[in-house]
């Protein structure tokens, strides 16, 4: 048992979400769900974050941004794709400007389905991510460079 799973700090990024999932992510912070009970904090700084929570799919504009954010997070780290758009591109999959789910740019550890994903399932997904975080710490897994991003990703 490490400290990691007791103090997961989250970086939330809206890739190209319709804001539906974002509102549900923020609902987790409200007094009703209060994720700070589990030591979860929503930070805005990738250098402080352990869990990258992304909503919405990848498009041509945010490809580099997502890669950059992921590269700036110190290991060990996990990625949670929240909502069906983040998981696979969802209904926007066929759009000319949409590349697909988050996993076509960075490795994703947990997929949370739903449109929009419910706060309960988001919390559930993050709890699942924590055990993966623990495992990564135990195995000393280094994040592989994001696919197709060259050595070590952006920056």
């Amino acid at each position: 048992m490490t400290w990691l799973s007791k103090s997961p700090w989250i970086l939330h990024y809206d890739a190209s979400s319709c804001n539906g999932c974002d509102i549900e992510v923020l609902a987790c912070l409200s007094p009703l769900y209060d994720v700070e009970r589990f030591g979860i904090i929503n930070t805005g700084n990738p250098k402080h974050a352990d869990v990258l929570v992304i909503t919405g799919g990848i498009n041509e504009q945010n490809r580099e941004v997502v890669r950059n954010l992921y590269a700036q997070m110190p290991d060990p780290k996990v990625v949670v794709a929240v909502g069906i758009c983040a998981s696979s591109g969802g209904v926007f999959r066929e759009c000319y400007n949409v590349v697909g789910g988050i996993d076509c740019v960075i490795p994703v550890d947990v997929y949370v389905p739903g449109c929009a994903a419910r706060p309960e399932s988001i919390i559930d997904g993050i709890v699942k991510a924590l055990s993966i975080l623990e495992e990564k710490k135990k195995n000393g897994t280094q994040s592989s460079p994001a696919p197709g991003s060259g050595a070590g990703g952006a920056q």
Partner: protein
């Protein structure tokens, strides 16, 4: 007498007290917002976690600056609890924060730069009041040595009520609480509010956090000085002052740097200088 034992006790115990205070702070804050809040020992888990993370070094000099920040905070606190010279304590304390500013300036992030600038403004804002507090204590007890102030047996608070209120005001700045949490905040926030700590990550951020715990214990110790003649009242005063800070933190939104500078200088001038002026006048009229 200078007490090495007290200094060592501070070095060992302060992180635990500081972490516990931070935990109580977060719990009470959560309850004020109608939430359950994190476990009491959450701050220890946070710092433990930070030391488990891989270190990302933006520039090597960050190491030196964050370490110097920690060392000088510990040194100033240890000197204070040992009973040393209050002026020396304040100078070491200021120097520590200059290292934090240098650490923020050493990175390349614009957020970090803004944080460093704001931290400098905060130092300008609180420094006069802290020095006035030391001068006030000298005027009452005729000594700058903490052990002599402690042993004077005088109810310093009755001589320096204005200085104490001014000190409470700058305490809000020092505890990094709203409306004065400009350069960085103890709550989770977005980049610009994280300011000086933006480019510190993992163990380096943990170090800054521990330094902040030391700092808080030192500042609460400073409140003790005002009530040193009666330890029971002093401890009650510390608790009340801290609860007041939490209440202020939760009821005010963040102010601008101009508001911070203006209000802290006006309060320092009104409360501190007038208090010292009256004290000076009385000592001239009524010779002890």
């Amino acid at each position: 007498m200078i007490s090495i034992t007290n200094a060592l006790l501070f070095i060992v115990a302060a992180p635990f007290i500081g972490g516990l205070v931070a935990g109580i702070d977060r719990k009470i804050t959560a309850r004020m917002q109608g939430r359950v809040g994190p476990p009491l020992l959450q701050p220890f888990a946070d710092v433990g976690k930070l030391f488990e993370k891989k270190q990302i070094v933006v520039t090597p000099s960050q190491h030196v600056y964050t370490l110097s920040y920690l060392v000088f905070i510990v040194a100033s606190g240890a000197l204070f609890f040992a009973g040393g010279d209050l002026l020396l304590v304040i100078f070491a304390f200021t120097l520590a924060h200059l290292f934090l500013v240098l650490g923020a300036y050493s990175s390349y992030s614009p957020y970090s730069f803004i944080g460093a600038e704001r931290e400098l403004i905060q130092i300008i804002a609180y420094e006069p009041m802290i020095i006035l507090a030391a001068v006030g204590m000298y005027m009452v007890t005729k000594s700058f040595f903490v052990w002599e102030i402690m042993g004077s047996g005088l109810p310093i608070i009755l001589y320096l009520p204005g200085v104490f209120l001014g000190f409470l005001m700058v305490l809000t700045i020092k505890l990094r609480k709203s409306p004065f949490d400009l350069s960085t905040s103890h709550h989770a926030h977005q980049e610009i509010v994280k300011g000086v700590t933006t480019d510190f990550s993992g163990p380096m951020l943990g170090r800054v956090e521990i330094a902040h715990w030391y700092e808080n214990v030192f500042l609460l110790g400073f409140i003790y000085l005002f009530f040193a003649w009666n330890p029971l009242i002093a401890i009650v005063a510390i608790i009340v002052a801290y609860l007041l800070e939490i209440l202020i933190d939760n009821t005010f939104s963040r102010g601008t740097w101009k508001f911070t500078l203006k209000s802290s200088w006006i309060i320092a001038g009104m409360m501190g200088l007038v208090n010292l002026g009256v004290l000076y006048y009385l000592s001239a009229v009524v010779p002890a």
